[in-house]
Symmetry: C2
Subunit: 249 residues, 2 copies
């Protein structure tokens, strides 16, 4: 069923006010008055709606309300380095499909392409996140933001999450699976992990000093395997591993 997002304050007792763009989209589909579609408030509430008979401008009628059950039980954040071309578009789109909670961008030493206009890039990526959230049936729209430099990303992730994975192509010993198995093991069940951050680098990877910095602040350095993953692939692979391990796939 086709799906739209509104702000919670646009949801009334028996009707919802859409923005003009979404309303025009619905009208363009030439739905019958009783044909159903979903409006989500971005806070895990889905409203099954119809246009109704009145066709009041921008307003649709609520037929049924229910909780969205598609959200993963673990809160995940991806910290991705700025990279070339449309690589981040891809990262954001796929991360949203996989259930990411938010995506935070930062600059590291080997970044070859930091946008001149960061707010504009963020706005574009936020639009991609919203479209992906509509398409895959999310109950929230993951936020895309910028946080400055790698050091800021590391400090933020440590403060916000129970566990931070720093994906480093030169790490050979500690694989992501070892780390997840350890931290989500029965022995660790008193320290229950509810939120995980994943930090990944730019096309050229991290400098050793960056990995050392991340480790010294308390992140866990992990390998994503023997093959070198592209900068847009690494966050998706790490996120898939996390969702798989925690039964959210």
């Amino acid at each position: 069923m086709i799906r739209f997002f509104v702000a919670p304050q646009d949801v009334g007792a028996d009707s919802i006010k859409l923005n003009s763009e979404d309303f025009e989209h619905i009208r363009s589909l030439r739905l019958a008055p009783d044909e159903l579609f979903i409006v989500c408030d971005g806070e895990n509430n889905d409203y099954t709606c119809s246009l109704g008979e009145r066709n009041e401008r921008f307003v649709v009628r609520i037929v049924e309300q229910k909780k969205v059950l598609n959200e993963p039980l673990i809160t995940s954040t991806i910290y991705a380095a700025y990279s070339k071309g449309d690589r981040l578009d891809y990262t954001v789109q796929k991360a949203v499909e996989l259930g990411v909670y938010n995506v935070i961008l930062y600059e590291s030493k080997r970044c070859v392409s930091v946008p001149n206009n960061i707010p504009k890039r963020i706005e574009r990526l936020q639009r991609i996140a919203k479209e992906a959230a509509k398409q895959c049936g999310r109950g929230i729209i993951p936020k895309v933001t910028d946080i400055g430099k790698l050091n800021d990303a590391v400090v933020d992730s440590i403060g916000q999450s129970d566990l931070t994975l720093f994906c480093y192509e030169d790490e050979e010993k500690q694989h992501i699976k070892d780390l997840l198995e350890f931290h989500f093991s029965q022995e660790n069940k008193d320290n229950k992990i509810m939120s995980v951050s994943i930090i990944t680098g730019p096309e050229g990877g991290f400098e050793p000093s960056e990995a050392e910095l991340a480790k010294s602040k308390g992140t866990h350095i992990v390998s994503l395997g023997k093959r070198v993953l592209r900068s847009e692939t690494a966050p998706i692979v790490a996120l898939t591993a996390l969702m798989y391990h925690t039964d959210n796939l």
Copy 2:
């Protein structure tokens, strides 16, 4: 280190003959005579090479030979339905990074875009596979081929693999993790699984009759979670899950 592929017959006792394109690429890098690069025979042998003093046309000198250790221990095949735009480019590129053995394309009922010129599309995807294999350090170049219709893909996968996963968006009960845990469990260790096929659908998903067909022939229907994955995302998520589960990440 920069990496090239040659055919095994181009490898001599102490030198290797490159094709003109790769040789020109090396020359364009203006390497010193003793600077090193890797030439792989596509059969898991890496040759560390240099241009040497002679600069003989197309021929480079072997400095050291070693086995490639980057290949996963499980042989995986992705059967992907034809889909629009550059979606298959993405599937092939990421699948190669993740260690796929080969990618086989087929047509299903809801395919909205089957190429008029299949050999040309395959040739393009094979080039993408080769580039990805160079970049991520594979010991082989995964093959990209076409097999016809879904029925052919199902029959082929059952014949070629120890286990076939049919990823179906309407499956709610059997998650991919349940299936992998069962088939790779200690109790099943006498039936050791060495090869796994993954079948995924086009943008519009599979028709129920297609899932029934696949099941009746012996594939295992699995869910990739509650969120609807795009056609190019599903094979990568399933392959990541497989590689993670089998300790190949």
